[in-house]
Symmetry: C2
Subunit: 239 residues, 2 copies
């Protein structure tokens, strides 16, 4: 096994490694969705499990500690690749890909059985997970990075799987280190009839808390890298 | 490829298929965590992706429609195997395994890099996702199944990855079709110092809404199976 130093030289992360990591995540997402919907029998499912374990063997070995940011993260450009909502290399994330226009952050995604709660509908907690990210990224791209202090959601109607959904966030209010961000989930073809309405309060921790929470966080070169800037939003593109 | 009829005969789901599906999910979880922390290079990651695609080929073919419940679900015993929080066969779920004691539903789990938000901490939206399930299952095991109408969370402190966490839910109040459920996330060794406090309102839809939402949902035999009973909690065991 070779190892990768990613952004050690301070340049952009290794493009080949990023492409491979994104491809692995895409394959994982497809397999997770397939595993929840296949009508294959036990022998076929068992043989799929065996191949997944073989895949794991290919990348076993040294692991980065949690305090060391992934070399593929590119905070200057706002990319956290393993973010479980928007990370391009996360097998859990759909992933949501955000764009920004006139201060509003939005994403369109169609979700499958892997994200199901009540039969045929999105899990209510998945709506909350996705909205926390939408609202947090909305804060960050407006220069208001903070950690979630309060999140609340009103569910107006069930959110269907298998249809394009639109996720949106916008700034309601800012007071010092605190921002209040609102947002919604709607069908993409009926964006102004929200199925879920969300509101979040995000707070930039005071310097002493920031040091306590993230004092040991470094990039792969060992340079201290606490979060706290717009780059911690995940690759929000201008629309 | 053979196909599986699962609970078609009305009996318990196929034990061999269930074991294989749970094994596949366990392998997927391990690989997802590994993919976020490995220091392997591009060639190894690419070869892992190739093996995952081969795994998918093993279970490709006919898929159940979303309106047909998975044959592995056993609603009489409260098992929804692909639930993205507590499903034993979900590659996304940690999974949380709930126990019930004196009306309180709880689970203990240690989470890894796949669920990360700010560096070294659980994603705030993941706290919300997990609590929605804890609160919803608390409602259901108390005979109060309902869909999430409102969810709110107060974040008292960051939730660390890599340490055992305790998730809890209890009934606060019930009024007709509506229940108010509270809960918390804490370190397992300090369960009474909540890091996240949550409160959810769950509402059992009126019969006409239940018909509109779930009128086409069937089990694998074609029998109509709307949700709406304690069995829709996910395999909560008595402690």
């Amino acid at each position: 096994m070779t190892t990768n130093d990613g952004g050690l030289d301070g340049g952009a992360p290794d493009a080949g490694l990023l492409a491979a990591a994104e491809d692995l995540a895409a394959a994982l997402r497809e397999l997770i969705e397939l595993s929840a919907t296949t009508t294959a029998g036990a022998a076929e499912v068992a043989s799929a499990a065996e191949l997944v374990r073989s895949a794991a063997e290919r990348i076993e070995g040294p692991r980065r500690p949690l305090t060391q940011l992934p070399p593929l993260d590119d905070r200057a450009r706002g990319r956290r690749v393993f973010n479980p909502v928007s990370g391009s290399a996360s097998g859990i994330a759909p992933p949501l890909r955000f764009v920004r226009e006139d201060g509003v952050v939005s994403a369109v995604a169609t979700l499958g059985a892997a994200y199901e709660g009540p039969p045929t509908f999105l899990h209510g907690g998945m709506s909350a997970l996705f909205m926390d990210q939408v609202l947090g990224d909305t804060a960050a791209v407006n220069g208001l990075w903070g950690m979630t202090a309060h999140l609340e959601l009103d569910y107006r109607g069930p959110v269907p799987l298998g249809r394009p959904l639109r996720f949106r966030g916008w700034v309601e209010e800012t007071v010092g280190r605190k921002s209040v961000i609102a947002g919604s989930i709607a069908l993409d073809d009926a964006p102004d009839r929200p199925l879920v309405e969300a509101r979040g309060v995000f707070v930039m921790p005071r310097p002493e808390k920031l040091a306590a929470y993230f004092g040991s966080v470094t990039d792969v070169s060992g340079t201290h890298r606490p979060p706290g800037n717009a780059g911690d939003a995940n690759a929000v593109e201008r629309g």
